[in-house]
């Protein structure tokens, strides 16, 4: 369940009902900020939108962190394989001269 899309806050409308204009690659819609009243987003912030309500702020830092972790995957493995190729481990076999 739960189709939710990241969107950027363009403008916040203060008033009885906290709403914001958000942008999703050029598509704009007014979104209700009522669920984020404990930590209101500002223009420029990114939020997760579900059925016209902002559910959560998106942390750019955590996103970058995640991508760093993912990109590093396999690099440790590749480095290990390289090292093994140098014959530095004691495999118990004699390497050909």
């Amino acid at each position: 369940m739960c189709l939710a899309i990241p969107g950027q806050v363009v403008k916040v409308f203060s008033g009885q009902q906290n709403t914001a204009l958000i942008d999703v690659v050029g598509v704009r819609r007014k979104v209700d900020l009522g669920l984020l009243e404990d930590d209101m987003p500002k223009p420029g912030d990114w939020v997760l939108i579900h059925v016209g309500f902002a559910m959560s702020k998106i942390s750019e830092e955590d996103a970058l962190d995640q991508m760093r972790t993912l990109r590093a995957l396999g690099e440790a493995e590749a480095a290990t394989q390289e090292v093994q190729g140098y014959g530095l481990e004691d495999t118990g076999k004699t390497e050909p001269a």
Binding site: A4, L36, L48, I58, D62, R71
Partner: protein, 376 residues
């Protein structure tokens, strides 16, 4: 699209899939359940199964709020809308779900005033611009959607909008997971946890799965890299014989959940003593109803609801597919009597229902002889 495209980067996806292959023990068969229908949809849409080794089985869970809704509830909603001057407003997901007399779309073709809305607040606006009519919003969804419905009801009250009510079919995820784990024919190793429900309830509600059931959970996002990274996390835990809750979807899910959202739910809703889940039977404390303090905005209190129970056709094996005991194509009706065009069970109607997802995206692939490589 920011926060979307990065998590679809092909080279990183390939590398993560390789890591999965490295981690998967060839002597083991892994059964990992993705609870949420949104994950089922994503897995098929991105063709993620093609990237996994044969010994990892992704089992589709019951997290599809449309799929678990008994047919009787749709009949009830439509019965309310039969009243003169009532507008039936619902998400697009509901429009093709069959009741005993047809789906909402079919009722629309017969003249009923049925409108698709993207947001519950749009349904409220509809009421404000149609003062001579009553707008009944057919609310569905797990804890992700319930807070938005709650806020809308609160706004209806504070703005004095009286020609608006909600037919509440919100359900909660934990009882569904418990029902799966209690099921005797279940054998699961780990869970891909629902990402968006968790933005509301946080990660704590899953702790019993790790502590009592000793199964790891990775609360996951919905992009290909999110789901693959979650599988990496689960395989690592299984390898180390650990069982913890991990938050893969950190960029969006707060461990403690969203207090404002939980407050809104507590303000407007209370738990029903029990609720019938299609395919799973009656589950106690598993669904929400509107509190008496908001009775005026509760369709079930404003209108007479027939409340007839409609049994599923005996041949349909929705329950077993919902619990992950059977794969969609193993149901006798799959692809013959039951297709997305003429669905017998709700799993075939909802685009994220396992059967519809499997049918739409997968089953003809299974018949292919040659392997597919990209076209240059």
């Amino acid at each position: 699209m920011k926060f979307v495209d990065e998590f679809r980067e092909p080279e990183v996806i390939t590398r993560t899939a390789e890591e999965i292959r490295r981690l998967a023990d060839p002597n083991r068969h892994y059964r990992i359940m993705e609870v949420c229908g949104g994950h089922t949809y994503a897995i098929y849409r991105f063709g993620l199964k093609d990237l996994l080794p044969a010994n990892i089985d992704l089992i589709h869970g019951p997290g599809c709020p449309v799929c678990v809704l008994p047919m009787g509830r749709i009949d009830d909603g439509l019965a309310i809308a039969q009243q003169p001057d009532v507008i039936f407003a619902a998400f697009g997901d509901m429009m093709r779900v069959p009741g005993t007399q047809g789906s909402p779309l079919e009722h629309k073709a017969r003249g009923m005033d049925i409108r698709i809305v993207y947001s519950p607040s749009d349904a409220l606006k509809l009421a404000q611009s149609n003062p001579e009519k009553h707008v009944m919003f057919f609310a569905i969804g797990f804890e992700t959607t319930a807070p938005s419905t709650a806020l809308t009801v609160m706004r209806a009250k504070s703005q004095g909008v009286h020609n608006f009510s909600v037919f509440c079919n919100h359900v909660t995820i934990i009882p569904a997971i418990r029902a799966i784990l209690d099921s005797p024919d279940m054998r699961l190793d780990a869970f891909i946890g629902p990402g968006h429900v968790s933005t509301v309830i946080g990660c704590r509600p899953y702790e019993w799965i790790a502590v009592n059931e000793k199964k790891p959970v990775a609360v996951s996002g919905f992009e290909p890299l999110d789901i693959l990274q979650s599988i990496v996390m689960l395989l690592r835990q299984l390898k180390a014989e650990e069982a913890r809750i991990e938050n893969q979807y950190k960029r969006v899910v707060p461990w403690e959940g969203n207090r404002a959202a939980l407050r809104a739910i507590a303000e407007v809703f209370e738990l029903r003593p029990y609720f019938e889940w299609r395919g799973l039977g009656f589950i106690s404390q598993s669904a929400l109803r509107i509190k008496d303090s908001y009775a005026e905005w509760d369709s079930e209190q404003r209108f007479h609801v027939p409340g007839v129970r409609v049994a599923d056709p005996k041949a349909a094996q929705c329950g077993e597919v919902l619990k992950g005991v059977l794969k969609p194509h193993q149901c006798k009706l799959f692809g013959n009597e039951c297709t997305p065009e003429h669905p017998i069970g709700a799993l075939m109607v909802s685009s994220e229902g396992s059967c519809a997802a499997y049918f739409n995206y997968e089953h003809r692939k299974a018949a292919m002889v040659t392997s597919i490589s990209s076209v240059a």
